[in-house]
């Protein structure tokens, strides 16, 4: 019974710490950014570069851009993947799109950055981009006959052109500014502008109560909940309650609850940017540079949102709310379970299996990533747990590259669209590329000369290019008669 209580306590503590600290500053704006991307970026502005006649140097970057900007949810990923493969640029760009989407979209980047560090998010982004294009090219070469067969069909779906509107672009940029202002670690943003003390005598006692409720062990990488954190949790709950009334039917128009929800969201971001410290006399409230920056960015968001027409901003708010409903609940449950599981895992196991950056450790991490399926974004808190338990950053990156790309669900989906042999080749390539990515990143973290890491990356890409050149040469030979 005691052990069970300890598990629940671990889960609750982990959840409270995540809600109070990490999630807010990055995920709240990230949901709105993802919503804006889904609702306001016309698909045709990118898909026009993905037609059958697009040359390689256009279609592959465009496929990566589509993965990053359009593929924030599965309603887009599957049709776009199948569309690019069957009606557009072909198998290679479709694979690049599919591989890059889980790592290159704004939610994954913001969340990885805030929980595992900006360096990690950057490495995940760059390596996924390079390797996504590499895997796409390889797949296109291995299965080139298949694309040749598709060439006979038309690609009217990709002929449409569109541009993103000025107000929509302004909105997207100012939302990104909110995200950056809220999370960037700059001394200018942390400097105090003005500080006041609110006469709240209970503040210190409240902090003591919080520490008793959520005890934490800093040595194990656990985090407690501060007074500020508890206030943020209350604000989050209030947003959740008002959003059901304010955003569920936003497509038909806004009501009073809508404005209340949006006001609370803005207030949450501003409170998160302040620094609240309990003291003997009450609660010290410090207005930092960050508050001013977040406030200015929020004003810009409002300014641009007012220039959108009614359909556009309603669609934006609906998509944002849909992401919250789809992802947040899973994330909350996932973080809770991670907190429970952490109580059971001995750090020695992880350190023995994947504490070093070698081939074995990276391979184990990739196999784990393939067989485990975590819902969208839950791979990130799982990765954080492994990092705290002593996993080496190299294998951890290998795991992060393999897990979202190769969940059982995505493998089934890919198999349904492109067939089993191609899926097997894709899974194999992703596994190899993930191990290489882990080894390279791990070497870099270990302080191996940056030149050597770059040389390793170049050697790998060079070997790949040579392989492709050889396959290209083979392809130029007369095709077998049955094609």
């Amino acid at each position: 019974m005691n052990a069970f209580l300890r598990l629940i306590e671990g889960g609750a503590g982990n959840l409270a710490a995540y809600l109070a600290a990490h999630v807010l500053l990055c995920l709240l704006p990230a949901f709105f950014i993802a919503g804006a991307m889904a609702a306001l970026i016309p698909k045709a502005s990118i898909t026009r570069w993905l037609g059958r006649s697009a040359p390689y140097h256009v279609s592959y970057p465009a496929a990566a851009a589509a993965g990053s900007l359009l593929a924030v949810c599965s309603c887009t990923i599957v049709p776009l993947f199948a569309g690019i493969y069957k009606k557009g640029a072909g198998l290679g760009p479709a694979i690049t799109f599919l591989f890059f989407a889980p790592a290159g979209n704004v939610m994954a980047l913001a969340y990885t950055g805030s929980i595992l560090g900006a360096e990690f998010a950057f490495a995940r982004f760059v390596l996924s981009l390079l390797f996504g294009i590499g895997i796409g090219l390889l797949m296109a070469l291995i299965f080139w006959r298949d694309d040749a067969r598709h060439d006979a069909l038309t690609d009217t779906a990709f002929a449409e052109r569109a541009r993103i509107g000025g107000a929509a672009l302004g909105l997207l940029l100012s939302l990104v500014a909110v995200l950056i202002a809220g999370t960037l670690k700059l001394s200018l943003l942390n400097a105090y502008v003005v500080s006041v003390t609110l006469p709240l005598p209970g503040a210190e006692a409240w902090q003591a109560t919080l520490l008793r409720w959520v005890p934490f062990d800093a040595a194990k990488g656990e985090e407690g909940v501060s007074v500020q954190g508890s206030l943020l949790i209350v604000l989050l709950l209030a947003i959740a309650l008002t959003a059901w009334k304010g955003l569920e039917n936003i497509v038909e128009g806004a009501n009073r609850w809508t404005w209340l929800t949006l006001g609370l969201a803005a207030a949450t971001l501003l409170v998160a940017a302040m620094r609240l410290t309990p003291s003997a006399g009450g609660l010290d409230v410090a207005f930092t540079g960050r508050v001013l920056a977040v406030g200015a960015a929020l004003w810009a968001v409002l300014h641009h949102a007012r220039r959108l027409d009614a359909d556009a901003w309603r669609a934006w708010l609906w998509e944002s709310w849909r992401f919250v409903k789809q992802i947040f609940v899973l994330l909350v449950v996932g973080v809770f379970v991670v907190g429970m599981v952490r109580q059971l895992i001995q750090p020695e196991w992880i350190q023995n299996l994947a504490g070093r950056n070698d081939l074995m450790a990276n391979a184990v991490a990739v196999v784990f990533g393939v067989f485990m399926y975590f819902p969208t974004l839950v791979e990130v808190p799982v990765a954080r747990m492994f990092l705290d338990l002593g996993m080496h950053p190299g294998p951890l990156l290998a795991y992060l590259m393999a897990d979202p790309e190769l969940s059982l669900q995505s493998i089934l989906m890919v198999a349904a669209v492109i067939g089993r042999p191609k899926t097997a080749a894709y899974v194999g390539l992703v596994a190899i590329f993930s191990v290489v990515a882990g080894l390279l990143y791990g070497a870099w973290v270990d302080g191996v000369n940056a030149g050597w890491v770059a040389a390793g990356l170049l050697a790998f890409l060079g070997a790949l290019a040579a392989l492709m050149a050889w396959m290209m040469a083979r392809r130029r030979r007369p095709a077998p008669t049955q094609v």
């Binding site: 609702a39 698909k43 045709a44 898909t47 359009l70 949810c73 599965s74 309603c75 887009t76 599957v78 049709p79 776009l80 199948a82 569309g83 069957k86 009606k87 009217t156 779906a157 497509v251 038909e252 359909d311 669609a315 609906w318 849909r322 409903k325 789809q326 349904a416 669209v417």
Partner: protein
Amino acid sequence: MKTVKILGSGCANCRKLEAVAREAASSAGIAAEFLKITDMDAILAYDLMSTPGLVIDEKLVSSGRIPTQAEVRQWLAA
């Protein structure tokens, strides 16, 4: 009798679209048959790049977004 097809793999937006379309049809008093298309090949037979898609009498009227009830009523009446 109109035939309304909802194209989508069963994601949240597809369910929302179906609810909007059904309400639009009943509020306008138009008899319509609703079909849910979840098979990807059947969906891609129409020219769309993102779900949910709404097809009325074999014509794709919207894709990648949720139209308002007023819009759906217009399409149904056309």
